[in-house]
Symmetry: C2
Subunit: 323 residues, 2 copies
């Protein structure tokens, strides 16, 4: 089985590549070749038991998509995107990368001769949803994104659905929850604090909480997110019917839930590292985010989330802090 | 007030232009200039009391959109589209005309200097919805189109919403019901019979009914559709908030309802002109169409549909058969 990962140098891309290299297989099939693409060279995992090649390329540039699909990968993970802050700040760049580049990928697949119909796993986002929403969002709820990023993801969901319906590719779009705890340094994303208030205290550092502890949001650990991607890659496409976009299951938790989960792992000392500094801008942004989903379709199809926020913290300790 | 109508030679375009020429105003404002665009020259109404210019141009061609917005129309009606059958038969053409050309229009508006923020009325369609649906589809239902045409309309709804949210244009997308009774000759559209079984018998001609009389669908008269377009053009944009796409109200009627409405106008003689010839292909297509909507938002915003199918037939008699 030949696998292509577009966006292989990102946080999820790197974890996916590590996992594929470790497993040596995807579902029941042995991996024969893994191709990694990102704007820079993605680090190939040292110990893969199969050939790994890495290419620095911009999918939005002409002919790049055609070159990538020329090797006819059986499975394509498309994780590359301009993130929400940048897509909001630079409209042209957001549409070029998040919409046009993905469309170029689908065009390139379509341009191959008949019979080439790869499984394409597209990382969509709960950003396709915008207010007003119900307390719990079900699988039939409309997509009314409140950002350009969410708009671009929702447009690709539609395009992917149409291509799949026409038998031009075997696509599946998965709407990822907010990934928590994100490894690495604090960043400037409005959602960063959800991870910062766990990661930094466990690392002996202070963290700032800019919102009230009653704020509720929808989370998955990085490990769960990789599980979603792998399950999406191996799922029987016939079980999806014509609805090729799935809201992923997750954990609905408040900041207070996060803090109590932190306390159970790191004690009061860790919790004291969280400094409450209300930030009106961030509070306003976060007020427009969904709080919980009923991801019934995805659960029926076998996608599995973390059990609760305690598990999300435990996964972080195991995967990032060496247990 | 300067008005641009793109797709002015189509059925709705022609009726809209007639109405604008007759009224001489849009809402409370006098029309100072009306620009018509279509692939061929649109017939300007002879008796307009203001300048009407007509241009043959393809919005999908480079620079056309920029030329059209150079005159800075205050209101743009964008009705041009490749219809569903053609968009399904020719994937590239459908995306080029229904997606790329509309995007070019938005790009051209964005490229104008700040302060130009026209009202853009985009004719979307209930084709953005696909099965499975509930018996009555509400304003929060997801768009899962079952055709490329519906996909392209839904993608533009998203793009329009994003542009409106960012203040780049003052857009509103209205999802039109199936227009019935369509004037003119019977055509090969799968939906054609809904109109044929009224129009042809009233004209002394036979008509074929390819589905069972229990089939239910969602209708508006051409006159109501024009009313929707005019109301969308004059509605206070602030009342829409960030949800710029509205499902239009309509009449949910069965084929049996249609036949009884025909009987009340044309008598048993007209009804006897309908020949039942079941067509498996059309039955299968129609089974995937929505039956009824709860268009609560549009109704609250003042959009008004026909009262019932009797009114739809009466409108046809008044507007097409000289009463």
């Amino acid at each position: 089985m030949r696998i292509l990962v577009i966006g292989a140098a990102g946080m999820l891309g790197r974890k996916l590549v590590e996992r594929l290299a470790r497993d040596g297989r995807l579902g029941s099939e042995r991996i024969s070749r893994l191709s990694l693409v990102d704007l820079g060279i993605a680090e190939p995992s040292a110990d893969a038991g199969f050939p790994v090649e890495s290419t620095a390329a911009d999918l939005a540039e002409p002919a790049v998509a055609a070159e990538l699909v020329a090797a006819r990968p059986d499975v394509i993970f498309h994780l590359a995107a301009v993130v929400s802050g940048e897509a909001e700040a630079d409209l042209e760049k957001g549409y070029r990368v998040n919409l046009d580049a993905t469309r170029a990928l689908f065009d390139a697949i379509r341009a191959c001769d008949r019979g080439y119909r790869p499984r394409v796993v597209f990382s969509s986002s709960i950003a396709v949803f915008g207010p007003p929403f119900p307390d719990v969002i079900d699988d039939d709820h409309c997509t009314t994104p409140a950002t350009s990023y969410g708009t671009q993801k929702a447009m690709i969901e539609l395009l992917l659905g149409d291509h799949a319906r026409r038998g031009l590719l075997d696509g599946i779009a998965i709407r990822l929850p907010t990934i928590c705890v994100r490894p690495g340094k604090p960043n400037l994303a409005a959602s960063g604090f959800f991870s910062n208030i766990i990661r930094e205290p466990l690392n002996g550092q202070d963290a700032v909480l800019p919102v009230a502890t009653g704020v509720r949001h929808w989370f998955a650990s990085p490990r769960s997110a990789i599980g979603f991607l792998l399950h999406a890659a191996t799922l029987d496409g016939d079980r999806l019917g014509d609805r090729r976009c799935l809201t992923m299951p997750g954990v609905s938790a408040t900041v207070a839930d996060e803090i109590e989960a932190l306390r159970r792992v790191g004690g009061d000392e860790a919790v004291r590292r969280i400094r409450h500094e209300p930030d009106e801008t961030i509070m306003r942004i976060v007020a427009g985010w969904p709080q919980a989903f009923d991801a019934a379709r995805a659960q029926a199809l076998g996608f599995r989330a973390d059990a609760d926020f305690d598990e999300i913290v435990r996964v972080h300790v195991e995967d990032e802090l060496g247990g």
